[in-house]
Amino acid sequence: MKLGELARDLGWETVVEGRGLDRDVSGGFVGDLLSHVLAGARPGEVWITIQHHANVVGVAQVADLAGVVLAHAVDVPDSVVAKAREAGVTVLRTGETSFVVCGKLYERGVGRRTC
């Protein structure tokens, strides 16, 4: 499923469109410790976090993630928007908690193993 479709279905606000909306989402990752995300997230995953320091954009870029979903209605600083625009990183936002966002993604098959 494409990130753009998920964003539409789940009612996420698009903060920065970036280049991720057309990407197929390969899985999901949730975490607010950026070192942990850098070490564990895999390319193409959608990342759910409440962290909103500008370094979030750098991590999404380096880890080649499909996009970032900022949960819990966090305020997005201008520094994040500017960096994401520059880097082409997709940044989405929702008022729901990380837990609920993950649950809804899993329901739609994201990150679920198929056999």
Binding site: L33, S35, L38, Q51, H53, N55, G58, P77
Partner: protein, 242 residues
């Protein structure tokens, strides 16, 4: 010889024995002649510590260990009390109202020189203030202070663990690490070693030997840059991970 990261009894998990004169005495006994106390998100013990340090013949810097919104610990150092006070007020306003649970973190007493309890801080001090890492660093600098990322090689509350890497464009002349040399990403920064003591016996377990003209922030910056024969060299006397 400097130990610039000591907690008083006000800090959560700081032992009650960490009273101003006791800290000063322990520092002298450890061969230290320059101290700073850095309580979590509070500057309430700074004034009385300045007096205790002066009494004991120790050089003193005003300090605080701030926990940013991203759970990064940053040390803030100031030469002058007015600048420190202004900074401390900003942090105080940004500290959430959540109550301290003494059963978990202990009481947070503000004490005077004679160890009388003046009051107990009711809010939980080991908590993130409502200011981001960049805002905290900029506020420290605006008030004339020096920002030093704390224990950057530690998993808990270290800059690299929380933020992944040093924010682009941000440089520090001094960076505190606990276990070993500074991790990559801090450019030309010089390592600062301090005890992070929460009990008397840990004071001086890690120290920095400064070769400077005077115990001031300006001289610290110059020592970090190695200017004119100045230097800042770490000495770890007792290994520890905290």
């Amino acid at each position: 010889m400097a130990d610039l990261h000591i907690h008083t009894c006000l800090s959560p998990c700081g032992e009650l024995e960490m009273a101003p004169r006791s800290i000063a005495r322990a520092a002298v006994a450890a061969g230290i002649d320059w101290i700073a106390v850095a309580d979590h998100n509070s500057g309430e013990m700074a004034a009385v510590m300045a007096v205790a340090a002066r009494e004991a013949g120790l050089a003193f810097l005003y300090g605080m260990e701030v926990q940013t919104r991203e759970d990064v610990h940053v040390l803030a150092y100031f030469d002058d009390e007015p600048g420190f006070r202004r900074f401390a007020q900003v942090v105080d306003k940004a500290l959430p109202e959540r109550a301290n649970d003494p059963a978990v973190f202990g009481d947070q007493p503000v004490v005077d020189l004679e160890e009388n309890i003046v009051r107990c801080e009711p809010r939980m001090l080991l908590n993130a203030v409502r200011l981001g890492f960049d805002e905290v660093v900029e506020e420290i600098e605006r008030q004339g202070g020096l920002a030093v990322p704390a224990h950057v090689d530690r998993e808990a509350f270290g800059l690299l663990a929380q933020l992944g890497f040093v924010p682009v464009g941000r440089t520090f002349c001094l960076v505190e690490s606990v276990r070993g040399p500074l991790p990559p990403g801090f450019g030309d920064a010089t390592r600062l070693c301090s005890s992070d003591a929460h009990r008397l016996e840990d004071i001086g377990r890690r120290v920095t030997r400064f070769t400077v003209a005077a115990p001031t922030l300006d001289e610290m910056r110059r020592a970090a840059a190695g200017e004119g024969g100045r230097s800042a060299v770490c000495h770890v006397r007792k290994e520890g991970t905290r």
